[in-house]
Symmetry: C2
Subunit: 285 residues, 2 copies
């Protein structure tokens, strides 16, 4: 990685943390950050997470060996078009968005030929946002999903990069990725947002720890999550319908005052809870 | 509290923690525990959380100045009838159940006259159960709701007892209590149980932190929660319907691909999330 230049488009919580992690592991690396506004330029200059920061995307991308799109999902495709003319031959591009199928499909149309796009999803999101909260150790021990053919040279290189930062990399088809992480992350976020909306304002002062934990992630950034919900619409709608079916199971038992039926259901849930808690990966989110 | 005897009927996680907290604060106190089975008798003798333990409820209750019913909600009324003949005149009785209206109403019919019943709900529940997990510091800093007239002598005494263990005591009408804590605890538990049931088994291995946090409390004891759900049926049904209304709001925005509408909704939720996180009380659950 010596003498390489990496461009980070979107130096927020995740992009900033990636910059910090790369710098910690590879001090000789030149990391160039793109700022979308004067305000963000000032903040990034002050925080000094990247080696250089600019409002001019051309100068950021030019000569870069790797370009990282650390943007909300809707912006990734948009910026892929913007950076395309400035990419040097052989430069690798990857994103770190939470949905993959749509991005992968569109990226193939935008970047055929000499530049490889490797769709990545490191599972390290947080309800925090912005570069102020960035953490160079964020990626340590995290699961990173790559939705590209594992035999391609570009994929092998990006996989090695994630692993060198402490990630455990797995490969998955992008449709399957979106289905799994809709159920494990996107829909649960929707539930948490909905629970916060549900709580009557005047009750908030009595909130015990359980509901504080359940609503923690409902402080996640609105624009990021609005875009994830829309990008993964189909799976999300399936998840909502499946969840309604489960709520109806509870309703049936409760309406019938079926104590034994409820206990059986909860016992079965206790067992499954164990499987969810003892997964193989530790990841920040 | 010197020379007093306190009986604890149900020395599980909460009852055991209360015994430990009382003993720590008042070493001279004599704490007598009732065990419902040989197995539990053996365990409690080994753990030595209480001074004496017996399968004979009569000997446990006799001469007690205070009798604590630390039982699942459906058992509280049942055991109130069992202990009634052995209560000494003037002995105080309180429970620590999660629902209050039904218990309060029935207790009034069972214990008229010389023995006062003070319905209490310290907000310290946990997904843990059993005396092995009991913790003498569990009640420190916790909110404790008492649903009885605050001017009665018995209430004043029990309030002082909770406060001496580090609780913050508030008074509330039992119907209002059940409504508030259905929304803040009972319904959120149902949601967490339902979310665990919803997760496809083969996805569990990829579960990120967000869903692990959201499903933590779905390991709570089935019999305890089946009874809470049934005891607070009316409020729970209202909550389920209200939650469906909120899910429909999300569905509408998602179906219409209304990015701006979603962002407005999530922004409003971000604000409310803050109110829930910064409540006035710290409580274990």
């Amino acid at each position: 990685m010596f003498n390489k230049k990496i461009a980070i488009i979107g130096v927020g919580f995740m992009g900033g943390s990636l910059a910090g992690a790369l710098k910690k592991k590879y001090p000789e690396l030149r990391i160039s950050g793109f700022a979308r506004s004067q305000k963000s330029l000032k903040l990034l200059s002050k925080l000094a997470i990247v080696d250089e920061v600019s409002l001019d995307i051309k100068s950021v991308v030019l000569d870069s060996d790797i370009v990282v799109l650390a943007l909300p999902v809707e912006r990734i495709v948009e910026y892929l078009k913007v950076i395309k003319p400035y990419l040097k031959p052989g430069a690798l591009v990857f994103d770190i968005g939470s949905t993959k199928a749509e991005i992968e499909k569109k990226a193939k149309l935008i970047l055929p030929g000499t530049n490889c796009f490797v769709p990545c999803h490191p599972l390290v999101g947080s309800e925090k946002s912005g570069p102020r909260f960035s953490n160079p150790d964020l990626y340590k021990g995290a699961l990173c999903v790559i939705t590209a053919s594992k035999s391609k040279k570009a994929t092998i290189e990006i996989k090695a990069l994630w692993e060198s930062l402490g990630c455990r990399v797995i490969f998955m088809d992008s449709d399957r990725h979106d289905e799994i992480f809709c159920a494990l992350s996107h829909f649960p976020h929707l539930l948490s947002f909905a629970l916060t909306e549900f709580v009557p304002k005047e009750y908030a002062q009595y909130a015990p720890r359980s509901i504080r934990d359940l609503t923690r992630i409902s402080n996640s950034p609105p624009s990021v999550w609005a875009e994830i919900f829309l990008a993964n619409k189909k799976n999300l709608k399936n998840n909502i319908n499946e969840f309604k079916r489960i709520i109806a199971l509870f309703e049936k038992n409760i309406n019938n005052s079926d104590r034994e039926g409820l206990i059986r259901l909860l016992e079965q849930i206790n067992k499954k809870q164990n499987q969810i808690q003892t997964n193989n990966f530790t990841s920040a989110k």
